[in-house]
Amino acid sequence: MSDTTQQPARKERNAWFEADARLKRRHLADKRLRAYGIAAIVFALGMLATLVGTILVTAAPAVTQTMVTFEVEVPEGSVDPANPSGGSYQTMLNASIARIFPDVDTPRELRELRQLFSNGGQYQLRDKILANPSLIGGTVSITFPLSDIGDQLHKGVIDRNLPPDFRRVNDAQIAWYDVLVERGQISTPLNWGLILNADSRFPELAGLRGALVGSFYALLVCFLVSFPVGIAAAVYLEEFAPKNRLTDLIEVNINNLAAVPSIVFGLLGLAVFLNFFGMPRSAPIVGGLVLSLMTLPTIIIATRAALKAVPPSIREAAIGVGASKMQTVGHHVLPLAMPGILTGTIIGLAQALGETAPLLLIGMNAFITAAPDSMFNPSTALPTQIYIWADSPERGFTSRTSAAIIVLLGFLVCMNAIAIYMRKRFERRW
């Protein structure tokens, strides 16, 4: 472009200019295409950010739990030292509450006052006495959750400026709550109960422990079943099976199986595992078996792709030094395919972790207030727990549902990160 002013080049450049116009159009088209691509990515990222942002904002209140601390007197003789679990702890707790609010005396007012506190307090008191019976006759300090309405009031989810008919707490309850705040009995520590507690009817006591343990057992069963079976099937189909119409049919069907809606697998599990084999309802072992039916095609397809990617020269080399077919596969092909197999397996398991529909059908959405001791006990799983909580009317479950979603997403991200790490770590050149 530096020679624009030079005359002799002009004629030649005319031709160039024409080409330039066409070139410009091509470049424009190029730029447009790139812009479309960027716009698509921005749109996708925006949606993702909205999704995650909404979940995070909704989940924020569940990060902490409003607790109240009471000094409870445990008079001598109120608890039988030989049988401490039989004590009437609710009465003692009520007594110490009544001491702070002496002028509350009508039954209706008393009921409304008690509505502010979770009924988990008496159990905490009982557990303290059980752990240390020498506390009988003295004063015990317990810190236990406020009830859902107290919690929501404290976190500002319930707006105290609304007219009384439009909020779930009345003016008296707000006044009592203010007294407790003034006395410094209210605190908001981190909500470990969300992870450590099992499910409960009361949001302030509900936690994910049962769901986490249930999901762990189900995934364990799923892995133990689908990993060896999937690899064996893929190795046979890829390395040993003759290529004929039957194996073609099997291959097509495996690919179709991967696309079958998960609820169909749930129905299958219900019919076969529960009704035919009579396995326990709601148990993680059944959940794991159903999930493994779903994961199997994924693992088989991933394994076959990984086996195919091993260069034939390696097979030839092994066969050339006199390795048998089995040795060739076992010593060379399978180890080289392992990164791909593991990646496929983890992605399959991650998919299984988030699967809800089949678990609903085999009853893993039951209300179970204790974490399962083994894979044969009834339990929930993470996605079904989310489903249950999302269905519950209490305000406290709204934030807890989102918090549970974050926990589930966290596990999924971790599993995918492990898959990427494995692929990078075990990748080998040849």
């Binding site: 003759p242 290529k243 260069p311 020269s313 390696i314 097979r315 030839e316 080399a317 092994a318 066969i319 050339g320 030094v321 006199g322 390795a323 048998s324 040795q327 010593h331 060379h332 080289l336 080998r428 050149r429 040849w430």
Partner: protein, 284 residues
């Protein structure tokens, strides 16, 4: 050794027959080399398509036999029949007989795994296992139970690498991956891997086509040395290479074996017109 003693004890009558047989063989075979591999009417089919037509050839022991011919002429196919490598291809079918030391290798009683331990193979592209140099060599002896891990295995690895002329270059890095070597070194590593299981025959399928001229020269030199111990069959596209390394040559064309002769004679005075055309560069 056992067979040698038996022969000694069998007495003079036996010795006479052996001598007779040797004499008659000498009458047929020039230079006094006994036949190692004897193929009779070998045909190969890939599905419906016939790739090799009634090939009959005798390959002498402890010599280098070169298979030459244009691409797709069946020389590699025939080579891969000698250690039954073609068995791994589903649609491949072989008829006729190939005998090594008089034993038919397509006999159902012959285990191809054992056969491949006796008939080693080196491929066109160097294909070391993605393992250490040591493990590359030790793999064959290990699976055949020739040696257990330890000093015995160390010895096999050293001998094989020495015979492949690679020992001095890699002795300090036996634990490093074999894939980290240069192309020529990798190919010699593959040769060392083949001789580690102590074969009688080594088949080489265009072993230098992926190598530069210097690496090629080294491999050719190695082939010449290996001829002392092993029967070598090499497929090559390079006429010069055939002339340099082989004592005998076979010319294949369109699935037919056209001509077998001393290499020197074939290159100076071919009997068939097609051979003449090929080696003078008129086609192929």
């Amino acid at each position: 050794m056992a067979s040698f003693e038996t022969t000694m004890e069998a007495g003079t009558a036996m010795n006479e027959t052996v001598k007779d047989a040797a004499a008659s063989a000498a009458a047929v075979m020039p230079v006094g080399h006994e036949t190692k591999i004897s193929a009779t009417k070998v045909s190969v089919f890939y599905g419906e398509k016939q790739a090799l037509f009634d090939v009959s050839i005798d390959i002498p022991a402890r010599q280098v036999m070169a298979f030459i011919g244009p691409s797709g002429c069946g020389k590699s196919t025939f080579l891969r029949c000698i250690n039954r490598m073609n068995d791994t291809i589903d649609i491949c079918r072989v008829t006729g007989t190939i005998a090594i030391d008089g034993a038919d290798i397509y006999d159902p009683k012959i285990d191809p795994v054992l056969l491949r331990a006796r008939v080693g193979m080196v491929f066109q592209k160097p294909n070391p296992f993605p393992k250490s140099i040591y493990d590359n060599i030790a793999y064959g002896p290990r699976i055949h139970g020739v040696a257990k891990a330890g000093s015995q295995m160390d010895e096999i690895v050293e001998t094989s690498l020495r015979r492949a002329g690679l020992w001095n270059e890699v002795k300090d890095r036996l634990r490093e991956p074999g894939t980290g070597l240069s192309g020529g070194q990798q190919q010699r590593l593959c040769i060392a891997r083949a001789i580690a299981v102590n074969p009688d025959v080594i088949l080489m399928d265009e072993p230098c086509s992926a190598l530069d001229p210097i690496a090629t020269a080294k491999v050719e030199e190695l082939i010449d040395e290996l001829r002392e111990r092993y029967t070598i069959v090499i497929v090559t596209h390079s006429m010069q290479q055939a002339a340099r390394v082989s004592q005998k040559a076979a010319f294949f064309h369109l699935g037919n074996l056209i001509e077998v002769d001393e290499t020197e004679r074939m290159f100076t005075n071919p009997r068939d017109q097609r051979t003449q055309d090929y080696i003078t560069g008129r086609f192929g």
